[in-house]
């Protein structure tokens, strides 16, 4: 094995971090989607999760959230495997795809369903709908929603249980500029309150304004795990660093 690049730290120490991935590997037949991925997120930080399409970002998030089983390795969320958390919706808010909504169900009913299953008081439904700006559309069926409105509804679902950790897969897709700014402020204030955020995105300029750290995947492997200041600075943008790092990862 080639010597690790200086930007890739050693194994995260056991038990530390709001999210810990340790040697996560996921194979689908002969394809290795996630290849020995390790990283750790400190509480109170916003981490950008970057990488080209097919780099393994979504699969890694699915492994972290217990939706898929790793072939080998371990994923810990708030110190435990996700499935072993007691009332996970009150500790972790996650959105993987904005389209994960029944078209005939209203926004309010979607949240009522999740609140009932998560042991969350019904009053939170109205609160998060107002928070994401969907108060007026609460009773409309989701099939009438724009992509941006679906993203907002997904965020409302994630915030329902007042979690300590947010895991968001491309939450800025389809948001208008005002929505993007709103999202950025939401994530920053969430982290300022002690929460931890893992957010995947392709919008590097936006990420550069929002996150403290970035973890970059390429070809299923971690190609960078560093503070934003270490990657972008001295005349180099995050985009420059990203393209340089991921170009090397494609075999």
């Amino acid at each position: 094995m080639a010597p690790a690049q200086p930007r890739i730290p050693a194994d995260p120490p056991p038990g530390a971090g709001a999210v810990v991935a340790r040697h996560l590997t996921k194979r689908f037949g002969a394809t290795v989607a996630v290849d020995d991925v390790s990283f750790s997120l400190a509480p109170g930080t916003v981490t950008g999760f970057l990488g080209p399409n097919g780099a393994g970002k979504t699969t890694t998030l699915r492994l972290l959230l217990g939706l898929a089983r790793p072939t080998s390795g371990e994923a810990l969320v708030l110190g435990r495997p996700y499935a072993e958390l007691d009332r996970p919706a009150r500790r972790v808010g996650a959105v993987l795809e904005s389209g994960d909504l029944h078209p005939g169900r209203s926004a309010r009913d979607h949240l009522r369903v999740l609140a009932a299953a998560g042991g969350i008081e019904g009053r939170r439904v109205g609160e998060v709908l107002a928070l994401v700006g969907l108060g007026a559309a609460a009773r409309r069926p989701v099939r009438t929603f724009s992509l941006g409105m679906r993203q907002r509804l997904g965020l409302a679902a994630a915030l329902l249980g007042e979690p300590e950790l947010l895991v968001l897969d491309e939450p800025a897709n389809g948001l208008d500029p005002e929505g993007v700014r709103w999202l950025r402020q939401l994530l920053r204030s969430f982290a300022a309150g002690g929460g931890t955020v893992l957010v995947s995105s392709h919008l590097l300029a936006e990420i550069a304004q929002t996150v403290d750290r970035v973890v970059i995947l390429g070809g299923g492997r971690v190609v960078a795990d560093a503070g934003l200041a270490e990657l972008a600075g001295g005349g180099q943008t995050l985009e420059d660093a990203y393209l340089e790092l991921t170009a090397g990862a494609v075999s």
């Binding site: 996650a94 993987l96 909504l101």
Partner: protein, 242 residues
């Protein structure tokens, strides 16, 4: 669990299934009540088998569709992901769905048999034929129909979690109930009467000369239902979420 009941009640699927079932039951009963010669509709047994039995048959069928859709619709629309994020333990999710499927199934079974009784009485009265079914027959038909449909809801859930894809799941259930079972019962009644549809009909007191007695049938169908749940837990545990 409340969440699963809310899921059923907050879309139009369940109401659509109930309406389709009610319509089909009324149609099947009316067609047979008009079409059959009077001497085939004279005894209580004939009226059970050829008329009101349709309520039990279709009630169980639609209950299994409700059970299957409770999983396949979540796969189709992707809502299975948020569902599993909130309830990551597969066994808990399956049990919550089982309660909703069995409860919804029982309502469909009761509605189906009650609709059949109503339609049968009306059409027989129009034709001037006498109603031969007593209170005990009706109690068994409605109670057995509801209980059998509840268990069929569990069987449908089992099929849905294994097949996952909505169209093959629904087509598979329809093919089994409408063709395979009928052929089995007619050509090899010794085996056919152990099939889930025949057990469901037996629970409503249909075709007592061919099928098992209701209590035995209920026990066996209950065992099938429990097996279906075990299969659902294993299937959802082994496979990654879609």
């Amino acid at each position: 669990m409340r969440s699963e009941v809310l899921k059923v009640l907050t879309t139009r699927t369940a109401a659509g299934l109930a309406a389709a079932m009610g319509g089909l039951v009324a149609l099947a009963v009316a067609l047979h009540a008009y079409g059959l010669p009077a001497d085939r509709l004279a005894t209580a047994e004939d009226q059970l088998d050829f008329l009101v039995g349709w309520g039990a048959v279709l009630g169980a069928l639609f209950a299994s569709l409700l059970g299957a859709l409770s999983f396949t619709a979540e796969v189709r629309h992707g809502t299975i992901r948020p569902t599993l994020l909130v309830t990551p333990r597969r066994a808990r999710m399956v049990l919550a769905k089982a309660v909703a499927a069995a409860g919804g199934g029982a309502v469909l079974g009761l509605t189906g048999t009650a609709t059949a009784v109503l339609a049968g009485r009306v059409v027989l009265a129009v034709r001037g034929l006498s109603w031969a079914l007593g209170a005990a027959d009706l109690a068994l038909l409605l109670g057995g129909g509801a209980a059998a449909a509840a268990l069929w809801g569990l069987l449908g859930l089992g099929v849905g979690t294994v097949v996952r894809n909505q169209v093959p799941a629904v087509v598979g259930i329809l093919a089994w109930v409408l063709f395979v079972e009928g052929i089995l019962v007619d050509t090899a009644p010794g085996v056919g009467r152990l099939s889930p549809g025949a057990l469901g009909q037996a629970m409503s007191g249909l075709r007592p000369e061919t099928l098992l007695v209701p209590v035995v049938a209920a026990g066996l169908l209950g065992a099938y239902g429990a097996a279906a749940l075990a299969v659902a837990v294993v299937a959802t545990n082994r496979q990654d979420a879609p």
